[in-house]
């Protein structure tokens, strides 16, 4: 099934998804995604012009909760799994200045 997905396209999309891929992965995915998209193309046979999109299985609108204070997860608990922290903050490498890159 031919569907033109280039390695370059895969790398561009992966960049949007904040995902580093190796060249080998990009090459493999390009072929595989081409096949999958080829199969997906059969949806184009359908006449859906007057069909409403269905984003959820169970239609409901505007689920409200009471605007009332309730206990949440404590800061210490929330930071428990952080790879790096400086309480009460998550710690990341320097973003500005030298860390900002080109």
């Amino acid at each position: 099934m031919g569907h033109p997905i280039t390695q370059q396209t895969v790398l561009e999309v992966a960049k949007l998804a904040r995902l580093n891929l190796t060249d080998d992965e990009a090459e493999l995915f390009a072929g595989q995604l081409g096949d999958v998209l080829g199969a997906i193309d059969q949806l184009k046979q359908l006449d859906v012009e007057n069909v409403k999109p269905m984003p959820h299985a169970y239609d409901q609108l505007n689920v409200f909760r009471e605007d009332k204070e309730s206990p949440g997860i404590a800061v210490g608990e929330a930071l428990k799994n952080a790879p790096d922290k400086d309480e009460p903050f998550f710690k990341v490498p320097k973003v500005l200045g030298d860390g900002g890159g080109a």
Partner: protein, 495 residues
Amino acid sequence: MDPTQTTLIDLRDAIAAKTISAADATRAYLDRIDKHNGALNSYREVIGEYALKRAAQVDTGEVTGRLAGVPIAIKDCMCHAEGTTACSSKMLENYRSPFTATAVQRLEDEGAVVLGKTNMDEFAMGSSTENSAFGVTKNPWDTARVPGGSSGGASCAMAADLAAATLGSDTGGSIRQPASITGVVGFKPTYGRVSRWGLVAFASSLDQIGTFSHTVADAALLSQVMFGKDKLDSTSADVAVPDGLHDVDGAIETDGQLRIGIAKQYLQDGANTPAVTAAFEQALDIYKSQGAEIVEVDLPHTAYGIPCYYIVATAECSSNLARYDGVHYGHRTSEPAPAGENAIQHLMCQSRAEGFGAEVKRRIVLGTYALSSGYDEKYYDLALRTRRLIAGDFDTAFKQCDAILCPTTTGPAFRIGEMADDPLEMYMNDIYTVTANLAGIPGISLPGGFDEIDGKKLPVGVQLLGKAFDEARLLRIARLYERETDHWQQRPMVH
């Protein structure tokens, strides 16, 4: 009694009658896990000390309830405050949840004893558990074969009696397909019936928690406990749960005549193996002999289920998995940013590259592509419209019948590695199960008999699909079949 060779309800009753203590029941399962998990790789993590502590509380009367002392296992994608919740991914290998998922909490509140977390395809993406970062789970009927997926650790644990019941999640068939090929009952309720709070998200509009068990009655009891609105999940349905849900031997409500629907889309020439066809025909005969009328229904958009699903599911997954950024929790790369590269961007991109496996990456790329500017209308919007057509097929069909009978899968378990290089072929595994997720309706896979390959008995299933929120009736219809068969009593020889 041997607590590992019974049903959940019988074990529960034996513990209540003090024929056996909860501690002894838990120990028996832990011993069995100890003995067999090395070969089967069903559990990703066992929390034995915690389980024994809980069981002791049942024995002292401190913990009571409808599931008091019953040892269960949960799929590794359900947050649990004890131990780790890894989603069988390197990304979450050391993740310790600060809370327990609502579905699990409700079972624990009724006295269930959680033994551990079962292996799965990473982030529930797959049909074989081959995508787990912790190794493949084996099918207890033939360890050269897969137990299905993504809830393959849970189906294996059920089939090999490494728990009295297990919880799974079903996004495109991830409970029903593994149940079918390991010979157990797998039940996916209506979307919204069970809270998703604490279920690690894959595709939020499709994900649903459900059960593995040996019997329909066990599935119904667990459902009675888990079902119902949860204020922590705004998508959980505010629809009354019938008190008699657990009573699977109750009368089936009909307009005077039970009607079982069959659809040619599930029965095409050559599509199913002879054993699958035989199981389907046996089920059909049972319903006929029980006085049901068989009605032909049409589900003309069934073939579009897979392409539709793989757009909707990957689009939602690409968005849901954006949270794994190497900052808040989960894996963080130790590789410093190359000179001139934005440090935080590198941290995110590289942490994700190291933390995710190939199938997860593939789906993130596909989903991002399908949602990206210029393609969203061509793919995502088109898939959502197709989804309504598929749901419409079921609406029409359920005006003519009470439940639809069909196979769960086209054949028995496949060999480990057999489909590993061909994602498209792997995706086709879900052909009979995805449409229920897209439409949001409940489905149950029941042990349907056996195929035999290389001298090994390999289970196949039959599936019943029902109307949304009509689980009580679906389970009674399932029970009608189960009562007339003994497939569910067959157990694999585990060594």
